[in-house]
């Protein structure tokens, strides 16, 4: 397999996951806006690390949330918008048509064609909700096609690496920002609990029911943080994602008969999420802990590029 193939699959995984996370986040934010306050737009921009871009873009438009949503959904100048991410994932896939299955390609290409078709019409009449829903649903199908049809070889592991690193980062980012907004002092102990806000945080990773199922108790910020970070059995938790990253790294090391800094880092990150208790996290400060994890995820991504000649 070529290094350029590894790179394309890695980024296909990242972009596709980014689109999926974004779609979910927008839906949660819209619901939240229907039931409460008014700062959600800025908060969401924060999650994407795009406060500046959003502010700039805000100056040219009037509505707050709707304009943010367009920015996140259909703005082709925003490289992280849904449309841009799907376009990028499809470009990566198109270059690797011979390294993915027909099922994966068809489902991704089908989504891209559908988005192009929707965008061709009058933008004012565009049904944003349907578009977001489509991305969410079909991203699941594309990943499903990958699960069911891809050969478990190097290529598959690079796709997994991209998808799970991105997902780990997305979840960490959402938790970090939302916690900061809802608990500026960083304390998990509530004066008054904003039930809706916390359930929307869970909704961002699609885990409201999961929470009920695991804890069978009222919403508690500490438990929300634990679920999103440390639970190994929650598929979008940082722990689960980094475990999958570590697993793929190990499979690659086995195939290539060599290990490097990226392997060490993946193992170290996985272990940290696995063996840290939630009270230790709050002792240290949630913000500091997540900052460290996210920093290491970024370093790991760089190291993967170096180690496998992806750059």
């Amino acid at each position: 397999m070529l290094s350029s193939t590894a790179k394309n699959l890695y980024w296909m995984g990242r972009y596709l996951q980014r689109a999926k996370s974004t779609a979910r986040l927008i839906e949660a934010t819209q619901r939240m806006a229907l039931q409460s306050r008014g700062e959600e737009a800025a908060g969401v921009a924060l999650i994407f690390g795009m406060e500046d871009e959003f502010r700039q873009q805000q100056q040219q438009s009037s509505g707050r949330l709707p304009s943010l949503i367009d920015f996140l959904v259909i703005d082709e100048n925003n490289p992280s918008s849904l449309v841009s991410s799907i376009g990028a994932a499809r470009r990566n896939a198109r270059e690797e048509r011979n390294n993915i299955t027909v099922d994966v390609w068809e489902s991704l290409n089908g989504l891209w064609l559908e988005l192009s078709e929707r965008l061709r019409g009058n933008r004012a009449l565009l049904d944003r909700g349907a578009l977001i829903e489509s991305v969410k649903k079909q991203a699941v199908m594309i990943f499903g096609a990958a699960q069911v049809t891809l050969l478990r070889d190097e290529a598959y592991n690079f796709l997994q690496l991209g998808a799970f690193l991105e997902r780990a980062d997305n979840t960490a980012r959402i938790l970090d920002v939302k916690f900061h907004v809802l608990r500026p002092d960083g304390s998990p102990h509530a004066q008054e609990l904003d039930y809706f806000a916390w359930s929307e945080v869970l909704a961002c990773i699609g885990a409201v029911r999961t929470y009920r199922r695991i804890y069978r108790s009222a919403l508690d910020p500490t438990k929300v943080a634990e679920l999103m970070m440390l639970r190994r059995d929650v598929p979008r938790s940082v722990h689960h994602c980094l475990r999958m990253v570590d697993l793929s790294m190990r499979e690659l090391a086995e195939a290539y008969g060599a290990r490097g800094e990226a392997d060490r880092l993946a193992g170290e990150l996985h272990a940290r999420l696995r063996y840290t208790r939630i009270d230790q996290v709050f002792e240290m400060g949630l913000n500091k802990f997540l900052g460290g994890v996210r920093g290491n995820i970024a370093t790991l991504s760089d190291e993967i590029g170096r180690q496998f000649l992806l750059d």
């Binding site: 397999m1 070529l2 290094s3 350029s4 376009g87 198109r94 048509r97 011979n98 192009s116 195939a255």
Partner: protein, 525 residues
């Protein structure tokens, strides 16, 4: 998968494969006009045909020809609604598979599919047998010529082809001189464009021995047809084409310099902006080889390697779909980002083979074309089985005078032109256009050739309101390695506009599945 028909016909001595090709690097060509008549050279014979030969309906007394009987029945029995639904299904199928054709340099995403017509083009076994023999012969001669052109040039010394025809050719690559290629093969993959003007009259319109494309459409069209009309396949026995890629891989492996039992073969593509990118990916996938871009390869100590996550891996054979000029920025165009620095050095050192060979353009331009029948006689000592379209060379005074006198009935083409550019179609041009072209022609007669306006055969084709005859051509693909292989049939391109002779996909051309029938059904009763 070997067709059993092969076994029944030992006389051909070569396994038959169908090798079609379609638009792409070399295929954007005008196929030549077919209007109401055909003029045979020097006016010896002038046959007036009131209309083009229709491959389905021009049987004796305007009956349906034997090879098309099952198709005609199928058409009669299928309701218009069913047809409409089927055609829609085809479009969806092609889009979802991402089989697209984008013009070079198109903005990413600006892709469209090539129209596929669901009425197959049918060729009887005896017709194909004849074509097959002719194709093998022609490609053998072309390969002999290429080896000679970059070797001793005996054909020039014998006075058959002027040396300047070779040396002064814009496509001549000096760096390829004196190279001893495995098996002496230069044109490993050849796409020979054929046209038909009558029951028994086929002509070679053009040879493509650089990077002919279109074979992926042959394979995909067949897949689609088997899905859409399985009942037709049970009504007649159609020779399969699906083993093309296996034969292609065997051909590529057979021309490695190294004696490694499993040489590493890669397909070099310019990238996904290339209009034929789909085909590159498709073929690499079917062969199970790496699809590489220039940036995936590098040369170290005279050997070519590809970059992989486990480290550099040696490459033995490169099936390149990148033009000569872009292959190696050190040796050719320095501004090329598509090639590999040092590649030609590795070729000259006998460390890597490049397929098709460098400099093949000297054998397939419109001027060299006129010498191909002579090549067959010179190298093989045989009479050509497939005829050229009669061609006048405007660099010859007699020919030039004849051409000037008859411009309104001729087609005049630029020697290195392609894609239907720089040409005059006499019968469809206005007086002013002809006069304008005359000025160009007189300025540089050596840049042009002229041919009669051929009445290309037609095939029934679905158009807006129903079924109507449309002009077609045929590009079989000939594989040459340690042996020669042709899959039965090839790519049929069809001009979808009424009366149009242009089958280029960029100009409203489409494709059809091409069926070569197993022995048993004669072409005519």
């Amino acid at each position: 998968m070997s067709s059993s028909a092969d076994a029944r016909d030992p006389s051909v001595g070569v396994r038959r494969r169908h090798l079609p090709s379609f638009a792409g690097e070399e295929s954007l060509r005008f196929v030549g006009p077919s209007i109401a008549y055909i003029v045979i050279r020097q006016g010896v014979k002038c046959r007036m045909a009131s209309k083009a030969f229709d491959e389905m309906n021009s049987g004796a007394a305007d009956a349906v020809r034997a090879p098309y009987r099952a198709v005609a029945n199928w058409l009669a029995q299928t309701s218009p609604e069913k047809v409409a639904a089927t055609r829609h299904e085809v479009d969806v199928f092609y889009r979802r598979h991402g089989i697209t054709f984008g013009a070079y340099g198109a903005v990413d995403g600006a892709e469209s599919t090539i129209p596929f017509d669901i009425i197959p083009r049918v060729i009887a076994w005896d017709e194909w047998e004849h074509l097959h023999k002719g194709l093998v012969q022609r490609v053998r001669a072309l390969n002999a010529f290429l080896a000679d052109a970059y070797g001793e040039r005996e054909i020039c010394r014998a006075g058959v082809i002027p040396e300047q025809q070779v040396l002064m050719n814009a496509e001549f690559v000096a760096m390829a001189q004196g190279l001893e290629l495995p098996g002496g093969v230069h044109a490993h993959i050849a796409g020979i464009d054929l046209v038909r003007v009558g029951e028994k009259d086929f002509y070679v319109l053009e040879d493509n021995v650089r990077t002919p494309s279109g074979v992926s459409y042959v394979l995909e069209n067949r897949e689609v047809m088997m899905r859409l009309a399985p009942e037709l396949f049970s009504a007649m026995r159609v020779l399969p084409v699906a083993d093309y890629t296996e034969e292609l891989l065997a051909t590529l492996r057979s021309v490695s310099f190294s004696d490694d039992a499993e040489p590493n073969v890669v397909l070099l593509t310019p990238g996904h902006y290339n209009s034929a990118y789909f085909e590159h990916a498709f073929l690499a996938d079917e062969m199970g080889i790496e699809l590489v871009k220039g940036s995936d390869l590098f040369v170290d100590e005279g050997r070519v390697y590809m970059r992989t996550p486990r480290g550099p891996q040696r490459v033995d054979v490169i099936y390149r779909r990148v033009d000569d000029g872009f292959l190696d920025p050190l040796a050719m165009r320095p501004d090329s980002f598509l090639g590999v620095a040092g590649l030609l050095g590795a070729l000259r050192a006998g460390r890597v083979n490049i397929v098709n060979a460098l400099g093949n353009g000297v054998a397939d331009d419109k001027s060299t074309y006129t010498y191909v029948p002579e090549m067959v006689r010179f190298y093989l000592g045989d009479e050509p089985i497939l005829a050229n379209v009669p061609t006048w060379r405007c660099d010859r005074a007699d020919d030039f005078k004849y051409v000037l006198d008859r411009l309104p009935e001729l087609v005049v083409k630029e020697i290195h032109g392609s894609g239907g550019k720089g040409m005059l179609v006499g019968p469809t041009s206005s007086k002013a256009e002809i006069e304008e072209f005359t000025t160009l022609l007189k300025a540089r007669p050596d840049n042009y050739i002229a041919q009669p306006t051929l009445a290309l055969s037609t095939c029934p084709t679905f158009v807006g309101q129903g079924v109507a005859p449309r002009h077609v051509d045929l590009r079989p693909f000939v594989l040459s390695g340690r042996k020669t292989t042709i899959i039965p049939g090839g790519l049929t391109r069809v001009a979808l506009k009424e009366g149009s002779l242009v089958v280029n996909s960029s100009q409203g051309g489409g494709t059809k599945d091409t069926w070569v029938l197993a022995p048993g059904v004669a072409a005519s009763d």
